[in-house]
């Protein structure tokens, strides 16, 4: 069975500073990994994915994520946080059936 862990319930970062939201996974075979963002009272919005190829993947709104096979991690990063990035972030794994982590609330402080 596949599983995804997001070890931080909340991440606080000052506007303009780099941000990292952590994710580790446990899947059999080659992992399909995703990041989604959820704004209040909204659905999940796709940010980026890793399927194969370059370990650094770039996505929407300046976000990127680094796939690290040896550490089974897929951390979400952004060089300079914006207040509008404040939301709930979900890491997911799977191909036809997604398994999500419990989510990390990102708060960007002006």
């Amino acid at each position: 069975a596949q599983s995804v862990a997001q070890p931080e319930d909340q991440v606080n970062v000052a506007e303009g500073n780099p941000l990292t939201v952590k994710c580790t996974y446990s899947v059999s075979g080659n992992p399909y990994l995703f990041w989604y963002v959820q704004y209040p009272n909204r659905g999940l919005q796709f940010l980026l994915k890793y399927i194969t190829g370059d370990n650094l993947v770039k996505g929407s709104y300046g976000f990127e994520a680094e796939f690290n096979k040896s550490q089974t991690s897929f951390h979400l990063k952004k060089p300079s946080a914006l207040v509008s990035d404040s939301a709930l972030y979900f890491c997911g794994a799977g191909s036809y059936q997604l398994t999500f982590g419990k989510g990390t609330k990102l708060s960007v402080i002006p």
Binding site: G43, L44, F46, Y96, Q97, L98, K102
Partner: protein, 113 residues
């Protein structure tokens, strides 16, 4: 840009009543999903649907749940006799043939009283 839509956005029902949640997936997508998110918890997979039949379902998806694609556009989730613990946000998602990314609708917030 095409998107997944869901109706209603909110539904309040009495325990024991039947509810039907509706979704219109992206038009050329072939794989359809329902997920739920209990308040404050993670998003959980319920069921996947392909070629007019269930392809996978989770332990949550018991006999009280059913899915249907009644026509070429709608995809529905029915809960026959709702329980208090069915209160959650229900998300529909769809996936295109040969693609990897599921696209989610805005969700239906179900409250069972």
């Amino acid at each position: 840009e095409p998107e997944v839509t869901q109706t209603p956005s909110h539904q309040v029902t009495q325990m024991g009543q039947e509810v039907i949640l509706r979704c219109v997936p992206i038009s050329n997508h072939l794989y359809f999903y329902w997920y739920r998110q209990i308040l404050g918890q993670k998003v959980e997979f319920l069921v996947s649907f392909y070629n007019n039949e269930i392809s996978e379902k989770s332990e949550i998806f018991d006999d009280q749940f059913s899915v249907e694609r009644p026509d070429g556009s709608n995809f529905t989730l029915k809960i026959r006799s709702t329980k208090l613990e069915d209160s959650a946000m229900y998300f529909c998602a769809s996936l295109g043939q040969g693609k990897e990314t599921q696209y989610f609708g805005p969700g239906t917030r179900l409250l069972v009283l």
